[in-house]
C-alpha cells in the first residue's frame, strides 16, 4: 500500500470512528431524554418518594440536592478564593507553592468514594453529626475545593501583572488591590468556574451515601423551625439527594417503578447540569462584556 492509499484509508477510519462516537453519545443523550420525558411532570418533581409502591416523586430529593449545593458552596467559595489568592498573589517561595499545589492535585484525584468515607469517619462518626445535610455539605466541600481553587487561580492569573502594579503604585496594599481590582476584573471567569463546579457537585452521589445518608424523611415545607426533623432547612436531618436516589432505587429494587423513577430523575439531573453549563457560559460572556464596557 502506498502512502496515498494509506492516507485515504486512515482518513476513512478516523471518520468512521468519530461517527461511532457521535452515534454513541447522541444515542445516550436521546435515550436519557426519551426514557425520562414521559415521567417528568409537576407531580413527579414536587411529590414525596414512596418506599414500596409506585408513583413516588422526587420533591424532597430535589430540594435536598439544591440545599446541599448551596450550603457546600457557602463554605467552599470563600475558602477556595482564599487559597487561590494565597497561591496566586502571596506565596513567594516556589518550592512551597509547588508542594501545596501538588497536595491540592492529589486531593482532586482522590476517588469520590474515598472522600465520602473520610467524611463519614470525621463528620459523621468523630464530630457526631450523624448522617446529615451538614456532614454531606462539608464532604462535598472537600470534593469541590481542588477544582474550585484551580479555576479561581487560573482566573486570577488571567489578569495582567500591570494591574497589580497599578494598584500597588497608588499606595494600596496587595490585599486591597486583589479584592478591589483583580477579583472584579476576573469575576466572569470566577463565576463561570463556580457554576461549572456546581454542576459537578449537584450530580455527585458516591461522596454522599455515607455522609448525607440514604433516606429522605418527608418534609413539611410549611415548617420553618430549623431544629425540627421535618423542616426542610434543618441541617442536621439526613438527606438523600437526587443522585443518591437514582442509585438507591436501582440497587435496592424495593419500588416496582424503579426504572421509571430513575429515568425521570436522570433526565432532571442531566437537565440541571446542562442548565448550569449554559448559564456558566452565558453569564460569563455577559459579565465580561459589561465590564469591558462593550
Amino acid at each position: 500500500m502506498n502512502p496515498k492509499q494509506a492516507d485515504k484509508l486512515m482518513t476513512f477510519v478516523i471518520y468512521l470512528m468519530s461517527s461511532v462516537i457521535i452515534v454513541i453519545l447522541m444515542a445516550l443523550l436521546i435515550y436519557i431524554l426519551v426514557a425520562g420525558l414521559p415521567y417528568v411532570n409537576w407531580h413527579f418533581l414536587t411529590s414525596a418518594a414512596k418506599s414500596f409502591q409506585s408513583g413516588g416523586g422526587i420533591g424532597a430529593q430535589l430540594f435536598n440536592s439544591l440545599y446541599l449545593l448551596v450550603l457546600s458552596m457557602l463554605v467552599s467559595i470563600p475558602l477556595s478564593l482564599g487559597i487561590a489568592i494565597y497561591l496566586s498573589e502571596y506565596s513567594q517561595n516556589i518550592r512551597v507553592t509547588t508542594w501545596i499545589s501538588s497536595a491540592i492535585e492529589v486531593l482532586s484525584s482522590l476517588p469520590s468514594i474515598v472522600v465520602g468515607l473520610f467524611g463519614f469517619l470525621v463528620f459523621v462518626v468523630q464530630f457526631k453529626l450523624s448522617f446529615s445535610i451538614l456532614s454531606g455539605a462539608l464532604t462535598l466541600t472537600i470534593f469541590n475545593l481542588p477544582l474550585l481553587v484551580r479555576s479561581m487561580e487560573d482566573a486570577l492569573q488571567t489578569v495582567s501583572l500591570s494591574q497589580r502594579e497599578a494598584g500597588l503604585a497608588l499606595g494600596l496594599s496587595r490585599w486591597e488591590t486583589v479584592v478591589h481590582v483583580i477579583i472584579p476584573e476576573c469575576l466572569p471567569a470566577i463565576i463561570t468556574g463556580i457554576i461549572l463546579s456546581a454542576g459537578r457537585v449537584f450530580g455527585e452521589a458516591a461522596a454522599l451515601i455515607y455522609t448525607a445518608g440514604q433516606s429522605a424523611p418527608p418534609l413539611d415545607f410549611t415548617n420553618w423551625n430549623v431544629l425540627s426533623l421535618t423542616s426542610p432547612l434543618n441541617p442536621l436531618r439526613p438527606a438523600e439527594t437526587l443522585a443518591v436516589h437514582i442509585w438507591k432505587v436501582n440497587s435496592e429494587g424495593l419500588i416496582p417503578d424503579a426504572s421509571a423513577v430513575s429515568s425521570g430523575a436522570s433526565l432532571v439531573l442531566v437537565v440541571v447540569v446542562l442548565v448550569f453549563n449554559v448559564l456558566a457560559r452565558y453569564l460569563g460572556n455577559k459579565l465580561y462584556k459589561h465590564m469591558t464596557g462593550e
Binding site: 502594579e165 500597588l168 496594599s173 464596557g293
Partner: protein, 270 residues
C-alpha cells in the same frame, strides 16, 4: 568608602536644609536579583520641580533604579535593595518605613498604560475612596482638576462613566497620569511613559509633563535621547548598572565629560 558616603550625605542634607531644592536623593543604592547584582551603587539627587531624565541602553539598570525609588522592587520575590533613599530626611529604604505611605508620596506611571477595568471616574477616585475620602463634591473636583492637569478633561468630561478600557492608548496613559497625581504625590516616577504610544500622543504627554513640573518633581526613564533632550532639565546616564554621568541636560548633550556618555549620545552604541 563609608566616610565618603557620610560626607556626601551631610553635604546633600545641608543643601536640602539650605535651599529646599533636593526632593530626593539616593546613596550607594544597590539592587540584587538573587545572587546577581543589577545596580552597583548609585548615588544621585533630584531637584524639586525639575524633570530629571534617566537614559541608557536596555539593561543599563535605569528602570531598576527608578522602581527602587518607590520600593516597587519589594514586590519582586528575590530582589534585594540596599543603600539609602532619602526623602524628607527619612531613609525610605529602611524596613521600618511604611511602604504604602512611601508610594502615596512618590507616584508612578508605567511603560504600558494600565488603567483599571473601571470607569474613567473610578480610575481616579478608587484609591482615594479606599483611603477614606467619600465627599462626592470633593471627589468630583479632584477628577476635574487632575484630568485637566493631564490634558484629558476636554476629551472625556462627558463620558466619565465610560469604561477606561474604551480610551485610546494615549488617552489611557494620560488617565494613568491623572490617577497618579490624584493621590497628590510629591514626586512622579515615569517609566518610559511614551514608549508604547504614537508620535502625536507622545508629544501630548511631553507637553503635559511641562505643565506638571510646576507642581511635581518628575523623574523619567526614557530610551529616547530626543525625548530626554526635549523634556528634561537634568540627565543621568546609566551604563551596565552604574550611573556614569549626571549633569544639566544641555551640558550632557553638548559637552559630556565622560567618553562613554559621548559615545552613547552620538549613537556609537545602544
Amino acid at each position: 568608602m563609608n566616610k565618603l558616603t557620610e560626607k556626601f550625605s551631610t553635604f546633600t542634607r545641608h543643601l536640602d536644609e539650605q535651599e529646599h531644592e533636593i526632593a530626593l536623593f539616593t546613596n550607594d543604592l544597590r539592587v540584587r536579583y538573587g545572587t546577581k547584582e543589577a545596580l552597583h551603587g548609585v548615588s544621585l539627587q533630584f531637584e524639586r520641580y525639575k524633570i530629571t531624565a534617566l537614559i541608557g541602553a536596555s539593561g543599563s539598570g535605569k528602570s531598576t533604579y527608578l522602581r527602587s525609588l518607590n520600593r516597587m522592587n519589594d514586590t519582586i520575590a528575590d530582589a534585594r535593595v540596599t543603600g539609602q533613599i532619602k526623602y524628607r530626611n527619612v531613609d525610605i529604604n529602611s524596613p521600618a518605613v511604611d511602604v504604602y505611605e512611601v508610594r502615596k508620596h512618590i507616584g508612578m506611571v508605567f511603560q504600558r498604560p494600565n488603567p483599571f477595568a473601571k470607569s474613567i471616574r473610578e480610575n481616579i477616585t478608587f484609591a482615594l475612596e479606599r483611603r477614606g475620602l467619600h465627599d462626592r463634591q470633593k471627589l468630583a473636583e479632584i477628577v476635574e482638576t487632575t484630568l485637566k492637569q493631564a490634558s484629558l478633561w476636554d476629551q472625556v468630561k462627558d463620558d466619565l462613566n465610560k469604561s477606561a478600557l474604551a480610551l485610546s492608548g494615549g488617552q489611557q496613559q494620560r488617565l494613568c497620569i491623572a490617577r497618579a497625581i490624584a493621590m497628590q504625590p510629591d514626586i512622579l516616577l515615569m517609566d518610559e511613559p511614551a514608549s508604547a504610544l504614537d508620535p502625536i500622543s507622545t508629544a501630548n504627554i511631553e507637553n503635559t509633563m511641562q505643565e506638571l513640573k510646576k507642581h511635581y518633581t518628575i523623574i523619567i526613564v526614557t530610551h529616547s535621547m530626543q525625548q530626554a533632550g526635549r523634556v528634561s532639565d537634568y540627565t543621568a546616564f546609566f551604563h551596565l548598572g552604574q550611573m556614569i554621568e549626571y549633569d544639566e541636560t544641555r551640558k550632557i548633550f553638548t559637552r559630556p565629560k565622560i567618553q562613554l556618555t559621548e559615545d552613547y549620545i552620538s549613537g556609537h552604541f545602544g
